[in-house]
Symmetry: C2
Subunit: 297 residues, 2 copies
């Protein structure tokens, strides 16, 4: 059409979007254009800000590599990743879910480890931690024979593939749930670590006075035919930044009670107090069991 | 915070944005997160769609080069560029404006050409066109001594720097307005041409059944100290696609009356009928006279 004002342009663009043949693409494009134009009108975006915005978006795409995804990092930093997760799981947002963000550090072929074994595969100083995870279905029944990948950082905040001091696959393991739906392993207590800050996201956090540290967490990926693959993280409730995750990932269902013990460990004679234990339950939901491809783009 | 639902994540993200120290960044980030989350909730974006969206955004940034800007092309294709232009000019959208989109084809150092001269610099088949542009201020008074860059495509739809058949700077010229605020030149009639389609934008247009052809237009860039530099395009009212510009650029103020003449040209004996004439008025607005840098990112 031939327009004379910004509001006429908006109406024109919406009318064009409304002609999209595919119903889902139409729904998305109409809503996108409506919200995008409403945002711009509301803040009265200047021409200089518009040019800067397009330059920032281009730079973000150009920062993305096989091992870094700037748009995913930004989506997390604006709460979008957590929002999408909670909208699409837990009976479409109606109930709590154990689903969470995958993050970029999952690796395939984690070593199969016996229940009750350790995932410490090279000398890793730090407080000891015993973990028990129970996998249940939505009715609360144990899921037997599920594959559970776990991975977490060292007490220095580094995954093994970021750290030359750690052996290959240190603090990673694959377990099978037993007849009670449980896996058990010993490890060291992870600590929070910063998301990448040499990024547009880093500049935003700095401008907003936000720290980049994710609270300490243990990742779990649970695979069992007949259920939606569970991508989860269990967060340490004693982390000082548990309320200020820059990725907005901490949920009530995934707040792990990391219990401190000042008494001697009942079994492991090599463990000095204090040591920690975690006993957490994760819920599988109905769906298709598929494995993500590492790294998730 | 520790959240249990998508709506709690949204409230959390908004609360974090509201803590941004800089007032303008705060205003933009709060509105951005509110509209972005509202869009996602409204369409109930799936996890697969979310992953596809981040992949598309990364690809768009990676498609951008020194001579192609995919995010600017997309902004145009969603009506955002036209919206931002109309919001920020014409007394902040209250009145008509001659401002429009720059596009990627402006070149510095266009050859200074005498008023009444031609900008045909190499053999360029096609219908003749005489152009008169009058530059006025908002009160309607002529602006004398303004520098006016004009550029347009050949009748085959190509700018000279896209076309080996054309001489350097063909169909480009720089003029100075005379005592009546006018410039005059002869040329050939331009034709519409497609925006780049080997792009994400091209895929979107195809999925939406939209053609990629911009209606025929003449670009003008007007520079005069004491006024905001005018970036303009005058659109051919006889173009069959005048109502369906994929960049939403055509405005009432810039709808050019391209008048067809079937009588012999009164002066130019070499011109065969039909030939065209255009007589258009462009309005300078108060502001700072700055030149854009080519190409505009």
């Amino acid at each position: 059409m031939i327009n004379a004002s910004a509001s006429e342009v908006t109406a024109d663009a919406l009318a064009v979007m409304a002609e999209t043949p595919d119903p889902r693409l139409r729904e998305i494009m109409v809503a996108l254009v409506r919200h995008l134009h409403a945002f711009i009108t509301e803040v009265r975006l200047t021409e200089a800000e518009f040019r800067e915005a397009t330059a920032i978006l281009n730079t973000m795409g150009q920062m993305t590599t096989d091992t870094h995804n700037e748009f995913v990092l930004m989506a997390g930093s604006l709460g979008v990743s957590a929002q999408v997760c909670l909208l699409n799981n837990g009976s479409n947002g109606a109930t709590e879910t154990s689903q969470n963000l995958l993050g970029p550090f999952w690796r395939m072929h984690s070593p199969l480890t016996e229940n009750g074994g350790t995932i410490i595969r090279s000398d890793t100083p730090g407080p000891a931690m015993d973990v028990r995870l129970t996998i249940v279905d939505q009715a609360g029944n144990p899921v037997v024979g599920a594959e559970v990948d776990v991975w977490h950082t060292s007490p220095e905040g580094l995954y093994e593939n970021q750290d030359e001091q750690q052996a290959n696959m240190n603090l990673r393991g694959k377990f099978l749930t037993d007849a009670t739906g449980t896996i058990r392993f010993s490890s060291v207590k992870p600590i929070g670590y910063p998301i990448p800050t040499e990024t547009i996201v880093g500049k935003l956090l700095q401008a907003q006075g936000r720290h980049p540290y994710r609270p300490a967490h243990i990742h779990a990926l649970v695979f069992k035919e007949g259920y939606k693959t569970l991508i989860s993280q269990i967060y340490a409730d004693d982390d000082p930044r548990i309320h200020t995750d820059p990725q907005f990932g901490v949920t009530k269902a995934l707040l792990g009670a990391f219990r401190r013990h000042d008494e001697p460990h009942p079994v492991r004679k090599d463990v000095a107090a204090p040591w920690w234990s975690l006993d957490h339950r994760l819920v599988l939901e109905p769906g298709v069991a598929v494995l993500p491809k590492p790294p998730i783009k």
